[in-house]
Amino acid sequence: MTHIDQVPTPGAPRPVEIGVKPGTKRTNPFARVFDELVRFAQSRSLFMLHYCTGCGAVELPPAMTSRFDMERLGIQPMVSPRQADILLITGYVSVKTLKRVILTYEQMNSPKYVIGICSCTVNGGMYWQSYATAKKLNDYMPVDIYIAGCMPRPEAVIEGLRGLIENIRTGRADAWKDYYRRYDHYLGNQQRLFGADWQTPTDVIAEARHYDLFGPATLGAHTALLEQHQRPLEALEMRIEIPELMRRRSRSDQGGTAQ
């Protein structure tokens, strides 16, 4: 039984850590102004990838087009997870779809926000009894905003988005860090569903280490289980390796050692 932990108190702006190395204090005075500007830009411009898993997707076209016009809020629909900030999960998430949703989530560049539309993502919705659907979305990935309703009307969707924009502006929408900080918890839930050899091409632990988002709970029993099955996917780095040169140098080394 987990709770939506530490419900952030509205209105208290918290400094945005821009991938800054821990320990380097941001001294220059412009830092705050720069943070303010960046947070404002992040809140004013959001790229939305709506992953229409279930029936909720039909509510989004009206939210985008002339009557409710999401673009007023600076929100544009985008196609590929690399470009998107918001992952809109609309409708029930079957176990098979959940695999793809997690893959898409991990392919997104953070700061990324997840909005669960329709009550099916909140607590199972009308498929709460079904063996095939995931009941609680934020077991598997940190969710920023839930918009309940068995297909919420566009006004509700816009209201949810406004809530998200408000959270971003005040800096409280950093649930995405939670995915890195408590990766073991999420991985446990995922392995519970998909079995022990579940893995995604994205190497989340290495990413956490790269961007210094390592929390205490990132590694644990489940990540240990993952280590056994994971075949690491490091990037193919460019290398200039000329065997003829190597052989000659090694021969000259042997020459050196031979004397």
Binding site: I18, G19, S80, P81, R82, K99, R100, L103, T104, Q107, T200, P201, T202, E207, H210, Y211, L233, E234, A235, L236, E237, M238, R239, I240, E241, I242, P243, E244, L245
Partner: protein, 676 residues
């Protein structure tokens, strides 16, 4: 000790017109040579041979060195270090060429002279021959270096004779030097035959498909040579002598009809070698199937001998102005437009055939034909900038094609295949080769920082100012086709997913990398500072009697639209600096990810499915222009071969006649009837 190696070095450096920055290098060479001169062996017979070598007529020295290279390769070809020896010899030939100093000085006649039955052959070097000889020996030097190291080791392991290769290369160089320095029709034809047979040898070295392609080349080359021989005979008939000045006088006195026949014969003969449109079918297979380094040499310079012939005869002797007066009846086209249109079509058709190739060597070979069209088009426009563009493109394209083919054969050396559908993602394993290919394709496509842009810009500018819209559009369509096919080349080989079997591919060996990197540096330099190259071209124009291009270190100064490459490349580099500043400065930290961590619509990518698009690369375009490829030239070639078969069948039929005596009787009666 009047002449000693140090004085020779000084003379060479002076000959090179190098900017004074190179004094330090010259100093190092001088003391090294001082040590040599006071060694024992040198005093005994080193000195006399040096004096003899210096005293010789420079052009003779060049021929002697080239013949020496051929002889040494014949004798020592099998040695392991034959490659290194070849490189040194080509270097010596280059030095000898520099010492002739005929580019900036006056034309120099060679002392060697052969007279046969009161016809004499003699050779002389002038600016034009110096220009082509410089490209030839340069390409020979680079090719020999490329073939010196592990490429030759692989070539030997494949069971082929290194000696034959070196001999073929040396013969090619020697033949071209003779051809380029010819001063009368006979020596021209001697050089021409030697060049075409030498390139036949270089093509047929590897046997199998290369032999078939070489045989097809031979059929074309010999018929071309026969056309030239016929033309020479006709000229001799009119002028009574083979000397160039007599020929020029004879041409001036020729009637239009005679000039037309001369144009068709000579033009046809040289067009076969240059690969202009109706005779271009042999070149792609012949140049692509030749052994690696051989293909580099052939691709870079061998086809330009045809261009040399056209320059000497059609541009030099007949003159573009005379071409304008030769009207084609019933059309308002003059012969100049006809040749220009052949050149323009030669730019378009091979380039769009290259687009369809799925073998990298064939793709580049087809481009070789296409780019020949630019040179001819530039020359046919005839104004200062146009002809300079054509000539400069000959130099620019030689270094570009050499670099490109070397990169492709480096990939073949490592991965074993040149098939674009079997490669991919090699940028992470062969980055330097990628760099060389990148410089090459930018220059081939004619984009700014590289050399190709300068000469193509000049051709375009002259087409605009001379007011030839349709030719201009044809040339641009050709360039765009080039850009499309070169991107396909670099994308299918270096970009995209790296195949599992190519994970452990290594970078090209050092002996192949040094010439490749040297050439790409030269490509960038010739693009950044086109001044020196333009000065050579200006000399050639002056010697040919064409209007000379107003060149300056950065490019061309002209009120109707100049070009200053130093500014352009400078601002481009500044732009890249700004781009890097914006990208790396403002942007946050990024992390490199594996190639399978890719967006595939939610699908989990695995290594066994090759997630790459390279086959039928321009599918969209091919839907439209696909049906336009009807292979009409292949049909023309096939029908020609069929008529030849029919005629030979008929001729042989005569010999299988049952009643030969009947034939004799008929012949006797016919003769008697004719006589009485």
């Amino acid at each position: 000790m009047a002449t000693s190696p140090t004085t020779v070095v000084d003379q060479l450096l002076a000959g090179l017109h190098l900017p004074d920055g190179f004094d330090a290098v010259a100093g190092v060479i001088r003391e090294f040579l001082d040590q040599v001169t006071n060694s024992a062996i040198w005093t005994r017979y080193g000195q006399q041979s040096l004096e003899w070598l210096i005293g010789m007529n420079p052009v003779d020295r060049l021929f002697m060195l080239s013949a020496l290279t051929l002889l040494l390769m014949l004798l020592l070809g099998r040695l392991r270090s034959a490659g290194v020896l070849a490189v040194l010899l080509y270097g010596a030939q280059f030095a000898a060429l520099l010492s002739t100093d005929t580019l900036f000085g006056a034309p120099l006649a060679a002392a060697v002279r052969i007279t046969v039955a009161d016809q004499s052959l003699h050779w002389s070097y002038d600016a034009l021959s110096w220009f082509f000889a410089m490209i030839t020996i340069g390409t020979g030097f680079v090719t020999a270096w490329y073939a010196a190291g592990s490429w030759m080791r692989r070539y030997r392991e494949a069971g082929r004779s290194a000696r034959a290769f070196h001999v073929a290369l040396a013969l090619n160089c020697f033949g071209m030097l003779l051809l380029v320095g010819s001063a009368d029709l006979l020596s021209l034809f001697l050089g021409w035959e030697l060049v075409s047979w030498a390139s036949f040898l270089l093509m047929a070295l590897v046997g199998g498909p290369a032999a078939q392609a070489a045989l097809k080349y031979l059929a074309y080359a010999i018929s071309g040579a026969m056309l030239i021989l016929g033309a020479i005979a006709l000229i001799y008939g009119i002028s009574g002598s083979f000397e160039y000045d007599a020929v020029v006088a004879a041409i001036r006195s020729m009637t239009d009809a005679q000039v037309w026949t001369l144009l068709l014969l000579l033009g046809g003969g040289f067009a076969v070698k240059l690969g202009l449109l109706p005779f271009h079918l042999w070149q792609a297979a012949a140049y692509a199937e030749a052994p690696g380094a051989g293909s580099v040499f052939l691709g870079a310079i061998s086809a330009r001998m045809g261009l040399f012939g056209i320059i000497v005869f059609i541009v030099g002797m007949i003159g573009v102005s005379r071409l304008m007066t030769l009207e084609i009846p019933y059309t308002f086209m003059s012969s100049r437009e006809l040749i220009a249109w052949i050149a323009a079509l030669t730019i378009i058709v091979p380039t769009y055939t290259a687009l369809q190739q799925h073998d990298a060597r064939y793709l580049l070979a087809w481009h070789g034909i296409g780019q020949g069209g630019y040179m001819l088009l530039g020359l046919m426009v005839g104004d200062a900038v146009g002809s300079a563009g054509g000539l400069l493109h000959c130099f620019n394209y030689a270094i570009t094609q050499a670099a490109l083919l070397m990169a492709v054969f480096a990939v073949v050396h490592r991965t074993g295949t040149a098939d674009l559908n079997q490669l991919g993602g090699l940028v992470t394993r062969m980055p330097l080769t990628f760099l060389v290919l990148l410089f090459g394709i930018i220059s081939l496509a004619g984009l700014p920082p590289m050399a190709g842009f300068v000469s193509k810009w000049m051709v375009y500018r002259s087409l605009i100012t001379e007011g030839m819209p349709l030719l201009f559009v044809a040339a641009v369509v050709g360039t765009l086709g080039t850009i499309l096919s070169v991107y396909k080349l670099i994308h299918n080989i270096f970009l995209g997913q790296l195949r599992v079997e190519h994970q452990e591919v290594a970078e090209a060996p050092l002996s192949m990398l040094i010439p490749m990197l040297g050439l790409s540096a030269l490509i960038f330099l010739a693009g950044f500072i086109p001044g020196p190259a333009l000065s050579w071209v200006a000399q050639v124009q002056g010697q040919l009697g064409l209007p000379v291009v107003p060149w300056v270190l950065g490019g061309i100064v002209d009120p109707r639209g100049g070009l200053d490459m130093i500014w352009l490349v400078g601002i481009l580099m500044a732009g890249f600096g700004v781009g890097a500043l914006v990208f790396y400065g403002f942007g946050g930290r990024s992390r490199r990810v594996h190639q399978l961590d890719n967006y595939a619509g939610g699908h989990f990518l695995t290594a066994d499915v090759h997630y790459q698009y390279s086959d039928n690369f321009y599918a969209g375009l091919m839907h439209l222009i696909g049906p336009w490829y009807r292979g009409s030239f292949r049909w023309l070639e096939r029908s020609l071969a069929a008529t030849l078969d029919l005629v030979s069948f008929g001729a042989e039929g005569l010999y299988r006649l049952a009643q030969p005596t009947l034939l004799m009787l008929a012949a006797a009666v016919a003769m008697l009837a004719w006589v009485l």
